[in-house]
């Protein structure tokens, strides 16, 4: 394990391996720390932090769909000050870089949270959440207009002590336009967030109290692969952490093949709580089985071989 074939260096991040849990699917790590050593992970993307504590949406907040699920949690979290004092403090015992997901209702909220959370010793990067589809104000509205996203990224970059990765929403007409608009300011991209969707009950009414939710899981992998592929053609050098429906090692290779540098595991943490350590182990085996010097030997093979 920890073979150098899986080491990856990205802005702010020295990753032992390219595998990390995605924001919102791992809370702040405490529950998973009872199951395995969090230091084995490449990094941890913690649950979104907002300026004030938030209670989130009414229930039901989740519904299963074919090979996926909808969620509309609504950014429930105890607020940035509590997260700094408790959740991030707890994570200090592990040798793992933390990527802090930052959300808000207005530009100033993002700026305040980013400023504060980037000062934590174990926070090595910020993931700017401009793509949450489940809150009425903020979130996705910042992530669907290229100029708004650019201004917000710029303001957050000014106050952050650590590199800033922008989490892109797939709910846009042109993902390339969005990536380009933030691409020369952001230190990297994480993509993709969930796709807006709906499920009805047998009386024809929406199941989720929020009416709509974000679709995640294996169902969205083809969408994410295509979007990363497209963005990579136009931005050959920007670091990209890919996510969307990863459930096995071949999925990870697919993401690297379309040009992602590292990957995050989301929904499947619920299906199989041991999926991250399992994938780290099997990726290590897969890379040596394929006789690769480094996982990134496969990077971009989806377009390079055309």
């Amino acid at each position: 394990m920890n073979s150098s074939a899986l080491n990856i260096t990205l802005p702010g991040l020295d990753l032992k391996n390219p595998i990390m849990p995605a924001s919102g699917c791992f809370s702040f790590g405490e529950e998973f720390s009872k199951l395995y050593d969090l230091s084995d992970l490449g990094a941890i993307m913690i649950k979104a932090a907002t300026h004030e504590a938030r209670t989130g949406n009414r229930t039901p907040r989740v519904a299963e769909t074919s090979s996926g699920m909808l969620n509309a949690i609504g950014l429930q979290n105890p607020g940035v000050d509590h997260i700094l004092a408790h959740e991030l403090k707890f994570l200090e015992q592990f040798d793992v870089p933390i990527i802090a997901n930052v959300a808000g209702s207005a530009v100033d909220d993002y700026v305040i949270v980013a400023d504060k959370i980037s000062k934590a010793s174990n926070v090595k990067a910020i993931e700017l959440n401009i793509s949450c589809p489940n809150v009425k104000e903020g979130g996705i509205q910042f992530g669907t207009d290229p100029e708004t996203a650019r201004r917000l990224t710029s303001r957050v970059k000014e106050v952050s002590d650590v590199p800033v990765y922008v989490k892109l929403s797939p709910n846009v007409t042109s993902i390339v336009d969005m990536a380009r608009s933030v691409g020369d300011i952001a230190d990297g991209l994480t993509m993709i967030n969930t796709l807006v969707g709906m499920r009805l009950d047998n009386r024809g009414r929406p199941i989720l109290s929020n009416t709509t939710g974000g679709l995640s899981g294996p169902a969205i992998k083809p969408v994410s692969l295509n979007m990363i592929y497209q963005v990579r053609q136009h931005l050959p050098h920007i670091p990209i952490i890919g996510m969307g429906g990863i459930s096995n090692v071949d999925d990870i290779l697919d993401y690297i093949s379309v040009g992602a540098d590292a990957v995050a595991i989301g929904t499947m943490n619920f299906t199989d709580p041991m999926i991250c350590p399992t994938l780290i182990q099997s990726l290590d085996e897969k890379v040596s089985e394929m006789g690769l010097d480094h996982l990134h030997d496969l990077k971009g093979r989806a377009y390079k071989t055309l």
């Binding site: 919102g24 529950e31 649950k47 229930t59 969620n71 199941i207 943490n269 709580p273 041991m274």
Partner: protein, 249 residues
């Protein structure tokens, strides 16, 4: 927490209601009635969410436990097709469960698919010497299950909403026909039933709630409920059992 169990037996015991007996070492960690297991439908990615199902009966001697669930959707219908020798991936045991108090006489009230966890509860209370009276509510005669099993533990009354079996009406109608003193009540069933019981029963009580779940172990924040103090807490880790009045229903 994650374990592979072997199906010993599975049968349909009422309309869409299935009783599955599972065997495996993790049974030894199941102690408190009211806890649940989180069941993966199969090892493909077609069903990404597990199904929370309460534990109905624990048999430590044979390392077996029983779950009872309603096969309502595609996932649980697949689960209902499993037979002896098949394996099931579960997370277990989850949740807090009912506190076992040394009372003289308690009332146990179950509604529909909320009935199962009360069977193990009643078994354990009877073992402690607590007298139990049971009220089981169902929609119709075709939905009734476990009446005989509860009768073996104590006085048992069944109510059906359509009057096709037992007392006509809701559990509250059957309760008002009783003229006895109870020290405490334990309930599991639809939210509206729990709300009415919490508001009308004078004695102390414990209720078990249900909500759509994601992870089942406190990570995803899907199954939250509001406390009387206005906090939103996780049902899977801080519940599913709460003291009467603790949660806004």
């Amino acid at each position: 927490m994650k374990n592979l169990m072997t199906v010993v037996d599975q049968k349909c015991i009422a309309d869409k209601i299935h009783e599955m007996v599972l065997e495996g070492d993790i049974t030894s960690s199941m102690k408190t009635p009211g806890q649940f297991v989180h069941v993966r439908i199969n090892d493909t990615t077609e069903h990404v969410l597990r199904r929370p199902i309460s534990i109905a009966d624990i048999d430590h001697e044979h390392s077996r436990f029983t779950v009872i669930y309603r096969a309502e959707g595609e996932g649980t219908r697949k689960l209902s097709k499993l037979g002896s020798g098949d394996t099931v991936d579960i997370l277990s045991p989850l949740g807090n469960g009912y506190p076992l108090e040394q009372n003289d006489h308690v009332l146990i009230v179950g509604g529909g698919i909320g009935v199962p966890p009360l069977y193990e509860l009643s078994k354990q209370l009877n073992r402690m010497g607590v007298k139990t009276t049971h009220i089981l509510g169902f929609n119709s005669k075709k939905d009734v299950f476990y009446e005989e099993k509860f009768k073996a533990l104590g006085e048992t009354h069944v109510a059906t909403a359509d009057g096709s079996y037992g007392t006509e009406g809701f559990v509250t109608d059957a309760i008002s026909a009783l003229d006895q003193h109870f020290d405490c009540f334990y309930a599991c069933g639809p939210k509206v039933m729990l709300k009415v019981l919490s508001e009308t029963m004078e004695m102390d009580g414990y209720i078990s709630l249900e909500e759509r779940m994601g992870c089942g172990f406190g990570v995803c924040y899907a199954c939250v409920c509001e406390t009387a103090e206005g906090d939103w807490i996780k049902l899977c880790t801080e519940g599913p059992v709460f003291r009467k009045g603790e949660i806004v229903l």
